[in-house]
Symmetry: C2
Subunit: 223 residues, 2 copies
Amino acid sequence: MMARTRRGMTERHQKIMDFIVERYEAGFPPSIREIGEAAGISSTSVVTYYLKQLTEMNLIERDPKFSRAVRPTHVSNKDVFRIPILGPIAAGLPILVPDAQVAYIGDEINGVDVARSLLPEREKARELFALQVQGDSMIDAMINDGDIVILKRAVEARNGEMVAIWLPEKDETTLKYFFKEKNHYRLQPANPTMSPIFISKDAPLEIKGKVVMVIRKLETTAA
Amino acid sequence: MMARTRRGMTERHQKIMDFIVERYEAGFPPSIREIGEAAGISSTSVVTYYLKQLTEMNLIERDPKFSRAVRPTHVSNKDVFRIPILGPIAAGLPILVPDAQVAYIGDEINGVDVARSLLPEREKARELFALQVQGDSMIDAMINDGDIVILKRAVEARNGEMVAIWLPEKDETTLKYFFKEKNHYRLQPANPTMSPIFISKDAPLEIKGKVVMVIRKLETTAA
DNA sequence: CTTGACACAGAACGTATGTTCGTGTATTAT
DNA sequence: ATAATACACGAACATACGTTCTGTGTCAAG
């Protein structure tokens, strides 16, 4: 029956959290009994027990004045993903990639909101991060100074995907379409007027992520 | 006490709708009694009475299985703007600009959802439209085949803004940074390695809109 | 004047909902 | 061994909630 190791998230905590998030994002927060049913708990008191813990862990908020008044603290507004901007990206800089499991409770310092409908499938929020392009070094990827690049954590890629690559031999970060060919990797610039570069399969090459989206915001003075 | 003119919205309908929208967007739909209190109605049966009408008017949806299960039908998801994609944009094509007041109720045939936080200020949804880039003719604007360009209706621009311009003499649509200088307009490509073009102030030049945002979606195969 | 649709109030009823309390059982610490 | 702790169940209870039924006043049509 697995005791809780000490202040950790058990499977039940997780199940309850997931259900609350799902229902909250759907617009209708659940009742105690609905949570119990979803998590396979027969007694409402056990749900209350877990809800109290989740509240203390600061993962949910409740309002005792209303029924069904429970919501995840991290406010992942239903239709929008807030993707954290982890730092700059430039040819001369290595890429900051988050560790496997960054706490998703983490206070979002800086982020972009992206409509979920724009994201492929049901991406895990955990897998996505954003970098802001610094300088003109990405112009061969048709990416401008100030653009925001949204990436998905990945260490390998399939042919035709645009990836962020760190080339240790050149001390260089680059964004290119990736193709694995007979004896080499072909890294193709997005700009069709530019030529690909070829990297030997023996040479070091670190894929840091797949490019999912590029967002460019232009300034317009108030009309 | 003002009779209902016949299938219209009275002040009470409006108050109730507003309250439901407010609460739904806040994440906690209201109970019958809460609606009553907000609308100054003393009897729950009267609230039910109005809720039934609003349901028939197709303004709200209810689920009798759950309490507080009421939501506005029109789902004006507060965090997201749906911007209609009106058609393609390419160097050889004129731009389709919507007339001053296109009905925003219009069934959204095709559109992009954009988080409101990404848009400058509180843009009027009416003023924005999107075009999808066709072909490689916009590469000097660092814009790719398939990119989505979000524009704001405009017929003039200030220096430094990126605008969509129709050049009648060349039969050409172009996206350039706009600068009005002594004797000419300077149209500067976004790509810093490319040279500006100059247009005489006497030559015809139609500004069709200001570029507000560019969105590039990349395909990634399922992990 | 009567009729009926409309807008509203109040009460009653059954179920939903959240809280609390008593109990039991492993596991861990002393 | 004993006590404390974490986890779980079920019952009981007061209140919240949605539905339904009865009644009242207004207004326009007949």
